[in-house]
Symmetry: C2
Subunit: 415 residues, 2 copies
C-alpha cells in the first residue's frame, strides 16, 4: 500500500503557527528525493554515500553480539551527553585527523544536522546574522532560515574563505548595529564546492574571528576523505576557545545510525547538552554502542582508505565526463569529498533547466540551493558519491543533451 | 578513563547566546541521573522501563538478519517523514488501541520528546501560552521553558482535566489578549499522576477545545499499559482535525532506538516533516527497520501483555509498601503506567528533603519537577517501573526513615 498524504487546501490552524514556521521550506534537494529513487534516473543530486562495500556480514554479527550480550543497555535510555565509552571512540576518530580532543568536551548528536540546529537555536535570536561561505551547505541554510537568522555569504577563492572579505562582513554588520553570532564554515572538501581552506588561511581566519570575538562553527563531515590521505588542521585546534567543531559518521562510515557529534569549549558544550536533552532526551544507545563496536573491532581506518580510493575513481569519472561532454562549462577538480561545482555555459539557468533535466532522466542540484539569496542560477552541484562510474558518465552525458536542447530553444527565441 | 567536563567560571561567549538559551535548565530528574546509576541507591525517580524480559536472543538474530540482508538500506539516509513500511507498522500499533490512522498522516520522530519539541517550535512564539495538566510531564515543561512558552496549569480531579477549569483558562488568557497555542495533555496513566481521563471527559475536553479553536497535543506513551488491558479512545479519534497525537515505542517496547511518532492533520503533518528534516534530516533507518521487523515477526501484543502484568505486580508492591511504611501520606492507586503520585505528610518539603533521601540511599522525584511555577513541594512522584519489587519496598521503607528524621528535626526546631 502506498503511503499518501491527504491534501488540504485550507489549513484551519494557519493562524496558530509561530512566526518562524513560515520560514520552513522544502529544500531543492529534498523536493527531488522521490525522483532520485526512480531507477531510470541518474542522480548526481544527493549527498548519499556509497556504502555498498561496508563489511555487512561482520557488522551483522557485531549487531547480533551487541543485542545478545548488552541488549538491556543498548535498548535503554542513555545520558543526554552521550555514552562515555563512545565519547572516547569519537576522540580517537578526531585524533586520526590530528585533533586532540578531551572526550569531556564532546557531546553526541542525532547526526551533525542536529548539531547545526542546536547551535543555531543556542546562539541566534530572530534577525541575528550568521556568516557562511558563498556558496554553503543547503541543510545549514535551511536551519538558519527556519531559526530566523539572516545569512550573509562571504566570498571564497581557491584557497577558501577570503580573510579580508570575512573581516569586512563582520565590521559592516556591526557598524549597522547588527548582532553577528557565528561564522559557519566547512573548511575541508567544502559542500558544494569541493575546495579546502589552505593552512595559511586557517590561521588568518581564526585570527580575524578571535580579534573580532566571533564564534566559529566548523562543520567537518568530509575531513578524512582527502583522496591522497591528506588532512588539514582543524580550526578547533588553532583556537579551541572559539570554535565549535561538528563531526559526523555519515560519510566516513554510514548515515543509518544518525550519529554525529559536537566538540566545544566547556561552557558551550554544557549548554549544548541541555539543549540536546530538551530536544531528544538522549541519543540512541543502540547507535552509539554499534558504532563503538565497529570502531573497536574493525579496521575503520582501512575502510576510510577504501572509501577514498573509491570516491577518487568516481571523481575521475566525473571529471573525464565533464571534459568529454561539457567542454564549454567550467569546474574545479576536488581532491576529496563528494562534489564538483560546475559553472554552466553562458545562457543556461540551472534552476530553470532542472525539471527538463529530470524529464531527461538526470538530476543535479541547482546552484541556487546553496545561497540564501537566490544567487547560483549559473552553477550546479554534481555529486560523484552515489552512482557508479558508468552512471556518472551517463548522467553527465544526459546533462549535456539537456543543455544543448536548452540552447537550441534559447537560440530559436533569440532569433 | 572517566569522562570529565572542564569547569569554566567565565564563559567568554556569555554575551553571544540567544535569549532563550537562558531558559535551559537541568531538570530535577536529570540532575539525579548520576545518582540513579549507583547500585546502592534505590531509585524510584526515573521513568526507565524494565526491559530485562525482552526476547534478546530473537532481537539479536533479527538485527543480524537486518544488517546482513538489508544493510545498505538500513545504514543509509532515509526520507524525512519516515520509512513508508514503518509508518504502516505504526498505524497497526495505533489500531491496537482503537485508533484508525492513515499512515500518510504519521511522521517518525527521534523519540516522542522530539515531537514535543517540534510541535512547540512550530506553534509557540516567545511569550505564548501553553496549557498543561497540573501537574505535567517534566520533559515537556522543559521544552516549553526552553522555547519561551508560558505554561498555565489546568487542575485535574480523579476523572482527569476539569472541563470548566480548562474553559476558564482559555477564556481568561484570551481576555488578557494572550495567544494560547495548545493544550498539552497525557490522557492515559498520566505522568506524574497515573490517572486517566474518563471517556465522558474526553468528549467534554475535545468539545471545549473545538469550540474555542484550541489545538490539542495528546501525548500517549502509556496508553497500552493499562493493567487490565483497558484502553481509552484517543482524543485524536474524537477530533481528528484538532488533535496532534504523539506516540512512543519507549514504554511498549524499549527506548534504545529513539523512535516515536506524530499523527497529525495533513496540514500540520506537512510542517512537522519540514521541521524534522531541518532538525535531523531523517530518522534512523536502522531503528525504523529493526522496530518494523520486531512488529512483523514477534508477538509484540503478547510482550505488552507481559509488561502489563509485570508493572501491575510492581504497582502492587509499591502500594503495599506505602500502606506499610507511610500510613500518614496519601496517594492514588494507578491502574496503568509507571507512576504513583504521593502527597507527603504534613510538614514535609519533598524538594528540600531530596538530598537527605539520596544520602539515605533512595531517590524519588520532587513534585516541583512537574510544575512550571514552583508548586509541588508537598508531593513526590514514585516510579515503580524500573526496580524489582523487593527494591521498591526497600525504597519506600528508606523514604519513611528519612521522613521520620525530617519530622524529628522539624519538631526539635519547632519546640
Amino acid at each position: 500500500m502506498a503511503v499518501t498524504t491527504q491534501g488540504t487546501h485550507l489549513d484551519p490552524w494557519q493562524d496558530a503557527y509561530a512566526a518562524k514556521a513560515d520560514n520552513l521550506r522544502e529544500s531543492e534537494i529534498r523536493a527531488l528525493f522521490a525522483v532520485v529513487s526512480r531507477p531510470e534516473v541518474v542522480s548526481l543530486a544527493g549527498g548519499m554515500p556509497n556504502i555498498t562495500d561496508l563489511p555487512l556480514a561482520e557488522l551483522a554479527a557485531s549487531a547480533q553480539d551487541l543485542i545478545r550480550t548488552h541488549g538491556t543497555q543498548a535498548l535503554q535510555y542513555g545520558s543526554g551527553q552521550g555514552w562515555p565509552d563512545f565519547l572516547e571512540s569519537i576522540a580517537e576518530v578526531m585524533a586520526a585527523e590530528g585533533t586532540i580532543a578531551d572526550p569531556g568536551n564532546i557531546a553526541v548528536t542525532t547526526g551533525s544536522q542536529q548539531a547545526i540546529d542546536i547551535m543555531t537555536q543556542l546562539f541566534v535570536d530572530p534577525g541575528d546574522i550568521v556568516l557562511a561561505e558563498s556558496p554553503s551547505y543547503v541543510g545549514a541554510l535551511g536551519v538558519f532560515a527556519a531559526q530566523q537568522a539572516e545569512v550573509r555569504h562571504v566570498p571564497m577563492d581557491s584557497d577558501g574563505l577570503i580573510p579580508q572579505a570575512l573581516e569586512e562582513a563582520i565590521v559592516t554588520a556591526r557598524k549597522e548595529g547588527r548582532a553577528v553570532k557565528f561564522l559557519y564554515t566547512i573548511p575541508n572538501f567544502q559542500n558544494p564546492c569541493g575546495m579546502s581552506m589552505t593552512i595559511e588561511r586557517r590561521g588568518e581566519i581564526t585570527e580575524i574571528c578571535r580579534k573580532h570575538h566571533l564564534l566559529i562553527v566548523e562543520d567537518n563531515p568530509y575531513g578524512l576523505l582527502g583522496f591522497d590521505g591528506q588532512t588539514y588542521p582543524a580550526l578547533a585546534t588553532l583556537w579551541p576557545e572559539g570554535v565549535v567543531y561538528l563531526g559526523s559518521f555519515s560519510k566516513i562510515f554510514a548515515p543509518g545510525f544518525r550519529c554525529g557529534w559536537v566538540y566545544a569549549p566547556a561552557s558551550i558544550r554544557k549548554k549544548v547538552v541541555l539543549a540536546l536533552e530538551s530536544a531528544v532526551l538522549s541519543p540512541s544507545m543502540v547507535g552509539q554502542m554499534a558504532l563503538h563496536a565497529y570502531l573497536r573491532d574493525y579496521d575503520w581506518i582501512g575502510q576510510i582508505a577504501a572509501y577514498r580510493s573509491m570516491y577518487r575513481s568516481r571523481r575521475d569519472a566525473m571529471i573525464q565526463a565533464l571534459n568529454d561532454y561539457l567542454p564549454d562549462a567550467s569546474w574545479n577538480v576536488p581532491d576529496g569529498g563528494f562534489y564538483t561545482w560546475v559553472k554552466a555555459p553562458e545562457g543556461i539557468n540551472t534552476k530553470a533547466m532542472l525539471p527538463r533535466a529530470v524529464a531527461g532522466l538526470v538530476a543535479y542540484t541547482s546552484g541556487t540551493a546553496f545561497y540564501a539569496d537566490g544567487q547560483g542560477t549559473d552553477h550546479m552541484r554534481l555529486s560523484f558519491c552515489y552512482p557508479p562510474e558508468d552512471e556518472i558518465r551517463e548522467g553527465v552525458r544526459r546533462i549535456a543533451l539537456v543543455m544543448n536542447r536548452e540552447r537550441e530553444i534559447h537560440n530559436i527565441f533569440e532569433d
